[in-house]
Symmetry: C3
Subunit: 309 residues, 3 copies
């Protein structure tokens, strides 16, 4: 297993060599997408459990397609109606899954640390598909893959991550990934949504999108959870949008060659204007395509599949 | 692609030649159902998304089985827990699906026109599995297939469609299909459930089932949505059943050779008596079998599969 | 079909020879689990419907994995959003499923007798995955398989089944299975949860776990449904746990070689102490592994698959 670890739990755990290996493997899988038969037999006869205890069609579908393109059998387990809903502990769910001779588990869970906990309990590889506010490493890897493919090396590139940093596992994983690749990260958002001590991570902080707009190479917009308003962390969605939304006017001030990214699903009209979302500077679709390729690479590398054909 | 169109959105779009091609292709697929291995390798390595934003186990299962019998990978996406539920626009869902290099999308949606909208947004074929009150073309095609198989040519045949015409996409698609095949259509139901100007479609209208009973070759009963009562469009279910239900007494007055159809799920005791539903004149099971064959044909024709083996 | 019956509905229906055949077949399938490719082509091109009208991720997943390891196409149908939810009768659901040329139906249903009713309506094999308070035969078979594998012949072995016997299909099936294999069964629980006339089945009854603890070879703990408390069948969960829970103290009084079983999901701290659940005497994981093997055997034997390779 060339990743030297059983699981993919966080970006923190990965070396730069690990990341490069994942991205290169993803690149070879992406070539398969242009074929009529988008399928390789590498994981035939293996079983992957997609354990989504927090709903996410987008990520679940991406992993399901990735697994099926590797010829694995993919079994979806959701929170609804599951033993977990009946009060079963994650420990017992884990042991049940392991006892079914499953070959890998993809887990999305509302609780930070749950993927690591699962990984310690069972022998098959565990892939973190988002655990609470902790990490969402496959999202960060697909983002890196997309950036490298579209604009090349990241070293020295300026990336603004805009929005609710405090409650975003996407941001946590992306910051870790960008730091490893020596990009320069600026976090942008209202003070209520940026953790106090996050500058320890070696990132810049700005409370004004307008201040950083002209200096960045990539604007990465986070989805604003509308719940933040009722939690009194935001004056109003309109206010947020006015200050931190990427409007057409702000978009026009961006440097040439700047690319816009968003992990989806987008709140059009809040963090991103529809014009911006649909414009050619946006890499949002490319991120989705990268997602399938990167997840194929991770499943392949962790599950030790046969050679790609 | 011999259908000359990328998508299957409505019966209106199809020529009589298109319809014949679909029905003939379905016929060759239905032969596979008697084999031990009910599977052909024509769509191996292709991915079909079953996007059911309005629940329908019957239609979803039919498409899922159809896709799997063609050896495609079928990924189910429902409304619950999906990005759509999080407020994502259909446009963004569409672009996400397309970006995953999907080969076809089957969509069921509560909103009329949504299938067409989706088809305009993405390159892969879109198949309308029911959009609001607009159309449900695969239902009409499986109905035509069933009729042709059971009683032969439709030209000149008299078909009564009975029930809630106003709110029925099944009726809309079926009227269009029957008109193309030169059958004679009579719509039967209470005045509150028949649109005022529907005679423009070249159909007869009757507010009495008893008046038409002895003249028809096919009685097509629509499912009565019980909500119609609370919307004050019906005096009561019992009243509806007494006037428009196909009771045993009415059934006895039918001509020899008349066939009874229903798209399911049936409200036994409301629009159809249990005796009638289970009697040999009923083609209700045959409709379900036809459904899988017709959907295989449509997936095959739109996705340009390899030759049937 | 070597089982001489079309369906698997209850343990009562099976001869000892039937049971032996199932367990031997399961044993040959379990060997496949150690291979890299855990899949045999025996049911390629067959369609299995997993009709779970009562939710159960554990059993559904076990059947889904079993079907896929036999190379069948498995289509999940749940109660939510299904035609059943729209008020369709089980009869119509059955006929719809049959009309889709399905090769087997696995049914979980809240109503006792529903599996038998379905089996009478349709030609393909029906497998009862739990019907109301009636039976859960595959659970009993996987339990027998586990016991035989771990401790050998059952004749004369003493098995205590502890908990809510009255509302447990697991208990009903297990009692029938143990009786056939000439094990000695003692039912243990509060009088409110043990049916009055159950001694007719040839079992002993005890209202004290402490009384039987030192005599048994197997302690089979049932899941306590917390609803029993609100139904006034239990004074409190704590009281239940104090009297009938397998605590560490009770566990220490067990004979050498005693094994602990539980069908899952467990209520740790109620019917079973966490120490006991995780201890080597527990066969709880082995039961899950057995479940996949036994269900593969049942699907294979009823569906008449090609030879195991």
């Amino acid at each position: 297993m060339p990743l030297r670890s059983k699981d993919l739990l966080s970006i923190e755990d990965l070396t730069l060599e690990n990341i490069d290996l994942i991205l290169e493997t993803a690149s070879s899988f992406e070539e398969v997408f242009d074929r009529e038969i988008k399928k390789v037999p590498t994981l035939r006869g293996r079983t992957i459990i997609n354990l989504f205890l927090e709903p996410s069609t987008r990520t679940r579908t991406s992993f399901e397609i990735a697994g099926k393109r590797l010829s694995a059998d993919v079994v979806n387990v959701s929170g609804q109606g599951s033993a977990v809903a009946k009060g079963e502990s994650l420990k017992d769910t884990a042991q049940t899954i392991e006892a079914m001779s499953v070959d890998a588990v993809v887990i999305r869970h509302w609780s930070s640390g749950s993927a690591k906990y699962l990984a310690e309990l069972i022998k098959p590889p565990v892939i973190n598909a988002g655990d609470g506010w902790h990490e969402h490493p496959t999202q960060a890897l697909l983002d890196l893959y997309t950036i490298k493919k579209e604009i090349g090396k990241l070293t020295g590139k300026r990336v603004a991550i805009v929005g609710d940093i405090a409650h975003s596992r996407v941001a946590r994983s992306l910051i870790a990934a960008l730091n490893k690749t020596k990009a320069k990260v600026t976090l942008v958002g209202p003070a209520t949504l940026i953790p106090m001590d996050i500058d320890k991570l070696g990132v810049d902080i700005s409370y004004s999108l307008d201040d950083v707009l002209e200096d960045v190479d990539i604007v990465y917009l986070l989805r604003l959870q509308k719940e933040r308003q009722s939690e009194n962390l935001l004056p109003s969605l309109r206010e947020y949008s006015r200050l931190f939304g990427l409007s057409k006017a702000r978009w026009q001030r961006l440097k040439n060659g700047v690319r816009i990214m968003h992990p989806g699903p987008m709140n059009r009209g809040i963090e991103i204007d529809s014009f911006v979302a649909d414009n050619e500077k946006a890499l949002i679709r490319e991120q989705v395509t990268s997602g399938v390729a990167v997840r194929m690479a991770i499943l392949y590398l962790l599950m030790g599949g046969a050679q790609v054909e």
